[in-house]
Symmetry: C2
Subunit: 366 residues, 2 copies
Amino acid sequence: MKIAQIAPLAESVPPQFYGGTERIVSYLTEALVDQGHEVTLFASGDSVTRAKLVPITKTALRLNPLVQDPIPYHMMLLDAVRQRADEFDALHFHIDLLHMPMVQDFIGRTVTTLHGRLDLPDLPAFYRAFPDHRLVSISDNQRLPMPPVNWAGTVLHGLPPDLLSPRIDRQDGYLAFLGRISPEKRPDRAIRIAARSGKPLKIAAKIDNVDRGYWESEIAPLLDLYRNIEFIGEINEAQKAEFLGNASALLFPIDWPEPFGLVMIEAMACGTPVIAFRCGSVPEIIDHGVSGFIVNDEDQAVDAVARLDELDRAKVRAAFDARFTADRMAADYVAIYQDLSGARTPAVRLPDRRGKEAELHFQAAG
Amino acid sequence: MKIAQIAPLAESVPPQFYGGTERIVSYLTEALVDQGHEVTLFASGDSVTRAKLVPITKTALRLNPLVQDPIPYHMMLLDAVRQRADEFDALHFHIDLLHMPMVQDFIGRTVTTLHGRLDLPDLPAFYRAFPDHRLVSISDNQRLPMPPVNWAGTVLHGLPPDLLSPRIDRQDGYLAFLGRISPEKRPDRAIRIAARSGKPLKIAAKIDNVDRGYWESEIAPLLDLYRNIEFIGEINEAQKAEFLGNASALLFPIDWPEPFGLVMIEAMACGTPVIAFRCGSVPEIIDHGVSGFIVNDEDQAVDAVARLDELDRAKVRAAFDARFTADRMAADYVAIYQDLSGARTPAVRLPDRRGKEAELHFQAAG
């Protein structure tokens, strides 16, 4: 198939630093290329891909200090897509909602993955206004706050199988927390769980400016209070294999409707089980008793730490291989793209009654 | 003509508080209705107009505490416009750039007034990517930082003639400063000019959160330092006639490329001359020696205050009536809309070669 992937411009594809959406777009794009599809990637010019790159900006917006407003660049992105829309069997958008008023001429070949949380007050009215767009959720749980829309499916994220190698035997016996220091990620829970379990905890996390106050008032004091808690700051992709692979478990004590949570499958790829709070996507990702433990509170989490020996790290990795590879993700998306293909029926224009034109086009396309 | 006015949703049309763009859209819309045109206004649902209102949201976004992100609502606005685009001879956008990738199907009937400053680093690359769009500047000076684009004209703003009545005889002898407390508006200059002139100064201004530090460190101390400087805070539209009409002059000591500066013509409508720094749109609005004085520095401004007796307040108002009424503004825009009308040629679709379709449409439309 001829497939367009339309990425946000905040980060390159793949991103140099953080950027979950851009990482997934990259994994998906390369897996589709591997599967023999003709893929065109619309992204920032510093992206690296084996697909055909359409560079919209020279560099990722977040790395360019001259950029004050990302919107104009995304409008340029949309115009570039619009000009070439007829070349593709499927156009896959990863930019949330900016494109929706613009794609009516090719809505039948359009699908949009929603990468963010959907429980925001601005969104229900919006999605009610765009009921025809085919949407993909990244977990079933992500859909809960949404009004009725045209869901094309849930496609769980996947990683290249060789991105993180499993470490079946070695483990240093520490618990790991990886992500952001923020109230909804609950590093405070991780600290108390580790302390009560008598295990060391290593925290690899960035602190965004918005979370600086939370760090200083809530988390930094806990590091003084408890022993064996090590804060190692931000780590890069290359350091993740070591950090996750050497841990006896990843703690994922979230307190918000996490739409996916990539770090869970990163841990699984390393063979590292996940102790996760029942929230958001967690029950769809963790096989309780196989790839980790799903818990409801800190007591259960402490109990789960004590039971980590019951889990087989090889089976954790096998759970990853079964459900969370980029190849599986790409295959899921191809099935969705193929469902779109009726939309290639040419639209009929009626020049004398232009008000009706769009309706006919929708019928042909839908 | 059948005309669509597409307003931002931040404020109602007209706005209840600040909102220069929404005020101009309101004045233009009502003047077009007066001139016999069939006008449809796309705006927030609390807008008040004699045109046909298409309400996009219940209230203006800035008045709704639940609104976190204005973008989804503007996407809904664009979709509403798209669905009805074929009804109009002219579609007049006042939302800067959000619509540009979407209007290609009716670009020949589209015109966009740029209401903001254009010397921002994100904009040149953007406008180079959209060279076909007909743009209107609100002063010639506003165009300076722009790359070559398709200018349809400059249309200076206008006000309803009865919005502010002239006060020819009475004046209380104070100088007036009206607007925002911000570094680019230079209230510090106004304070020094008044002090050196031995005249009282009244400052009617809002202080945005972003300017709170500037107020505290730079301006508040000056109020303690100098006598006869009165800060009266924010005033509403109804209070403007009194505040401006009773002043012997408006000080407009700006230090940035002001794209228009509505307060200058508000003062002129009251018969109040303007002492303005040569910057941005100022030379296009003030007739030096008639409706005010254009100055280059504080010395010249102090000199201008001493020469205010040379100006005739009736002639200040006459300068307003000659060039700055909403009727004149509407007539200028109608001339631009009429220039668009070739675009009603129906577009030709070639269902078998959809890649070429847009080109043919542009030729028919352009």
